[in-house]
């Protein structure tokens, strides 16, 4: 068909397969983007700022002589560079992001807006406290919510992320043991094999010795195994609950009793708290310390790797052993106390970071929590668990679940048993999901399951979205069974990049841009 200017309006007679390389290397919206070091120039700036009037510097002999080698771009060029880069990223706003343990849920924009209010964003941590009462009030209110939801007696707000919270909790335990005079005798921390790598890494960082506890056949830890591993040398157990297999530890109360009887403390990795908010309070289960990843459970955005925030709730036994600074209400005013003797308990174990924590994340998390309210928070946990079980059941007959068909919490775990002998690995399967427009699930974690695939749909997905996800994965499994290896072994085909060579990256690390060596004419060859 032609329109009345004679312009063809059909889609073309037949559309033959076309694989010609383009001149630019771009493919329509998929553009190549050079590095700023290749397109920027040191004399260009995207910021107008005038040189100061002449003055006498006070730099002594230390004025910079070393070149900076920092390229600049004008503002339009800068916008284009970063917008083009952004277009090479997958994001929760663009699609289901079933990264188990990482909790990629919706990030409400209200939270972004509020965190940017000048009264929060443009406030200095060392302003007089009389000028930051609202900021301190926000921290106090958020602490109250976290304590109510966990049953805790206190909460340390300064940890910067989950792993930092682990460090905080384990330091509190170390301080409590030292106060009992058992600092040098209790050296062992029990860590199940299924634990996240940060758990053993944290324990080792402050001189604890890690003793592994095997998981049972069914993916959970038995109180009996804990009891047997306990002795006078045991400082604590680090247990994730719900655990990294997506299961609530059925014997958690007995495990807590066992560790307490043996004189140790119960550190709970709260990365999966999002499954149980409003359903059960961890401290009621016997937990002494637990970090909460605000960037998981309470939806502060991950930002491509951070920042996060990892407040640590503490039981009555550990509450005195928190890090400085302390927030105290003195009449109508809130004060920040930094001196150990002023905290009143005389037991603050020190300081984890400069200033007082991830305020920007606190604002976002409180906004999220207030938006949900007690009813919405519980509903969110229930929906997360419902969606995960729906995925589990929807895929249970075509993939293999290591622990049979027992219900899961907020994430469904599969292994690679069903892939054995097919020539397709967990990695291949994950990469084929990319071509279907999905971010893969967490793979090869937890380590206790062969070729693990940990799927966390979260409560943010509609039923239609979860249905399509299930149907897509089912289709992929049928493809595996039909032996369509090409769909997997070369995947992804349609992503901004084909599979990347990680071995090469590690063998000859190139960790920064360096100017290309000048091409030197080889005269001898002429």
């Amino acid at each position: 068909m032609l329109n009345n200017q004679g312009r063809p309006t059909g889609a073309g007679e037949s559309a033959p397969a076309y694989n010609r390389k383009t001149f630019t290397g771009n493919r329509a919206l998929q553009t190549r983007e050079a590095l700023i070091f290749e397109i920027g120039r040191p004399e260009v700036s995207g910021i107008d700022i005038d040189e100061p009037e002449a003055f006498t510097p006070r730099l002594g002999a230390l004025a910079r002589k070393t070149p900076l080698d920092l390229p600049g771009l004008s503002e339009p060029e800068t916008m284009r560079h970063y917008v083009r880069l952004s277009q090479k990223n997958y994001a929760i706003d663009a699609g289901l992001y079933p990264l188990g343990s990482c909790t990629m849920k919706h990030n409400p924009r209200l939270n972004e807006k509020l965190a940017r209010l000048p009264g929060f964003a443009d406030v200095h941590p060392l302003q007089p406290t009389s000028t930051v009462q609202g900021a301190l009030e926000l921290i106090e209110v958020l602490s109250g919510w976290l304590m109510e939801l966990t049953g805790a007696h206190a909460v340390a707000m300064s940890p910067k992320a989950g792993a930092h919270g682990e460090l905080c909790g384990m330091m509190a335990i170390k301080a409590a043991l030292a106060a009992r005079g058992e600092g040098s005798t209790r050296k062992v921390v029990l860590v199940p094999d299924s634990a996240h790598g940060t758990n053993p890494a944290t324990a080792a960082l402050i001189g604890f010795e890690v003793r592994a506890i095997p998981a049972r056949e069914d993916g959970t830890v038995s109180a009996q195994a804990v009891r047997e591993a306990c002795g006078p040398d045991v400082a604590a157990i680090m247990l994730t609950n719900p655990n990294t297999c997506g299961l609530f530890e059925p014997e958690v109360v007995e495990i807590a009793a066992a560790i307490h009887e043996a004189g140790g403390y119960f550190y709970c990795d709260g990365a999966n708290f999002n499954a149980i908010v409003g359903k059960v309070r961890p401290v009621d289960l016997g937990v002494d310390a637990m970090h909460i990843n605000l960037h998981k459970t309470f939806s502060t955005p991950h930002g491509g790797g951070g920042p996060g925030a990892g407040p640590v709730v503490l039981s009555e036994a550990l509450a005195p052993f928190a890090p400085a600074p302390f927030l105290r209400r003195m009449g109508a005013d809130l004060e920040i106390l930094t001196l150990v003797e002023e905290t009143g308990d005389g037991a603050a174990f020190g300081r984890l970071t400069a200033f007082h924590g991830q305020m920007g994340m606190f604002v976002r998390a409180l906004s999220y929590m207030m938006s949900h309210g007690s009813d919405g928070l519980r509903q969110a946990s229930e929906d997360a668990v419902l969606n995960a079980n729906y995925v589990r059941v929807g895929l249970g007959d075509v993939m293999s679940a290591p622990f049979g068909d027992r219900p899961c919490m907020h994430e469904a775990l599969f292994d690679d048993n069903w892939l054995k002998g097919t020539g397709v690995t967990t990695l291949d399967f994950a990469k084929a999901m990319i071509d279907e427009g999905y971010h893969p699930m967490t793979m090869y974690f937890p380590l206790v399951v062969s070729g693990a695939m940990l799927i966390e749909p979260t409560e943010s997905e509609s039923r239609a979205s979860v249905d399509l996800f299930i149907m897509t994965l089912r289709d992929l499994t049928f493809s595996v069974r039909r032996g369509e290896l090409e769909r997997f072994s070369g995947a992804p085909y349609y992503a901004p990049r084909r599979r990347l060579d990680e071995t090469r990256a590690a063998r000859q690390p190139i960790l920064r841009w360096t100017p290309p060596a000048p091409i030197i004419e080889d005269e001898a060859a002429e």
């Binding site: 790797g305 020190g350 419902l386 929807g394």
Partner: protein, 448 residues
């Protein structure tokens, strides 16, 4: 609830599909007596309007730095952040993605991190940088641990000019890990003799420049003495803009350079989130903490980027990892990198000169105020003054007049005999009116 797409009908039919009689059947592993019957004792859900109203009321109780003459620094600095920076970091593809575990669909983040690492390395004068730490203080503690691993020694010597919070973070971690720390006395005039503390038992010396009192430190002699003794020199900075104007630690022999990157691209945020910058020599890269983006090729031999050298990290090495860090400060690193790209070398140099010029102008004005003594010989955009009387009370009185005058040293070092010292920072955001207001208010306060 506006964030939850499942409808009551969805829930019922999904439960039926799962074969669960009700939602609590899925919570069957929770001990029955622990499963909460009542909702938590907290308010019910709120509309967007209500939440905004509640939190805005809290925000309004704070004095925003931009609303008053503002001279507060001591480890966090107010700079102008271009509008495009905040716009770009709020793009969904950056804001709502995870750590780039699947590089084929995370090239945006990975390339940005590679660029960030190069910018940090060039800024600090080092060979390699990682893709960020939580902040400067935790980066500093990690640097000490890294030095212990490299030297197989366990004793750190901290300069008296190191930000007291940083020193406390290092001491806390060291105490817990069973390592030794020696902290020099706080040193307002930068006259400490650190050379005398270096011997063959020392793992590392940690020096900040500009130091917490604002003095610039020449690191060359320290580096030489460290290296003679098999120790490492760790250089710390809390004001990244200073590196646009002063000689970088890498050019003075530092082995590890750590610092706070908040100044570039990031707001004050009442203390966080910030971004720790961490750089070192190529030969130490395998002892570095944190994530590293590296260049490689894809199956079509196209250039691409991946997270690399992860055999250092907790998810592979577990208790033998170089650090426990997992989530870092990716988005703050992005903000830093975009702002740095906008500045470019020429913009950064000018920005740094304007900061220095403003601080010099203010120092000269304050030096003429009776009852004020400017203590620094050298400084960048922050310096220490001695005032007549108690600096903490003075700052409170000035705050009541609507001027945020600086950080009393006693806030950082309580009861240490520094009650009359005040740190004053001045950046490009200060105007002549701001300076005049501070000088006038100080003069009248000190005249009493």
């Amino acid at each position: 609830m506006r964030y939850l797409p499942l409808t009551p009908e969805d829930r019922t039919s999904m439960l039926r599909r799962i074969g669960a009689p009700d939602i609590d059947a899925l919570f069957a592993d929770v001990p029955a007596d622990k499963l909460l019957q009542e909702l938590p004792d907290l308010p019910r859900r709120k509309s967007e309007l209500e939440v905004e109203r509640t939190l805005s009321r809290m925000a309004a109780r704070n004095v925003a730095a931009g609303s008053v003459p503002f001279f507060v620094g001591a480890g966090a600095y107010r700079h102008h952040v271009p509008a495009s920076v905040d716009h770009l970091i709020q793009r969904s593809e950056f804001l709502t993605s995870y750590t780039p575990y699947q590089p084929e669909i995370a090239q945006g983040t990975l390339q940005m991190l590679f660029e960030f690492q190069t910018q940090v390395a060039n800024l600090t004068g080092m060979e390699v940088a990682n893709s960020s730490m939580y902040d400067g203080s935790t980066g500093c503690a990690e640097a000490v641990l890294m030095a212990h691993r490299i030297t197989r020694r366990k004793k750190a010597v901290l300069s008296g000019g190191l930000h007291p919070h940083y020193a406390e973070v290092v001491r806390t971690l060291s105490r817990m890990a069973g390592d030794d720390v020696m902290t020099m006395a706080p040193d307002v005039l930068a006259g400490e003799d650190m050379l005398a503390c270096i011997d063959k038992t020392v793992s590392c010396v940690v020096v900040q420049t500009p130091d917490v009192f604002g003095n610039l430190r020449d690191l060359n002699a320290l580096a030489a003495k460290c290296h003679e003794n098999g120790a490492l020199l760790i250089a710390v900075f809390t004001e990244a803009v200073s590196l646009g104007l002063i000689e970088p630690p890498g050019a003075m022999g530092a082995d590890i350079v750590v610092g706070e990157g908040q100044s570039i691209g990031n707001a004050l945020n009442f203390g966080g989130p910030y971004v720790g910058l961490f750089a070192t020599r190529q030969k130490y890269v395998r002892q570095m903490p944190g994530r590293l983006a590296g260049q490689t090729l894809d199956a079509n031999f196209e250039r691409g980027f991946v997270l690399t050298l992860s055999t250092r990290e907790q998810h592979i090495r577990r208790e033998k990892a170089t650090s426990n860090i997992c989530t870092n400060s990716g988005l703050c690193a992005l903000a830093f990198s975009i702002h740095m790209t906008l500045l470019g070398e020429s913009g950064l140099r000018t920005l740094a000169r304007v900061n220095h010029a403003n601080a010099v102008k203010l120092a000269d004005m304050l030096a003429r105020v009776p009852g004020v003594e400017v203590l620094n010989e050298t400084f960048f955009n922050e310096f220490t003054i001695r005032v007549k009387g108690d600096a903490g009370q003075l700052v409170e009185r000035l705050a009541a007049q609507g001027i945020l005058a600086g950080v009393p040293v006693s806030r950082l070092l309580p009861r240490a005999g520094f009650d009359d010292l005040l740190l004053i920072a001045s950046t490009e955001t200060n105007t002549d009116e701001d300076r005049a207001a501070l000088v006038a208010a100080l003069s009248s306060q000190l005249a009493h």
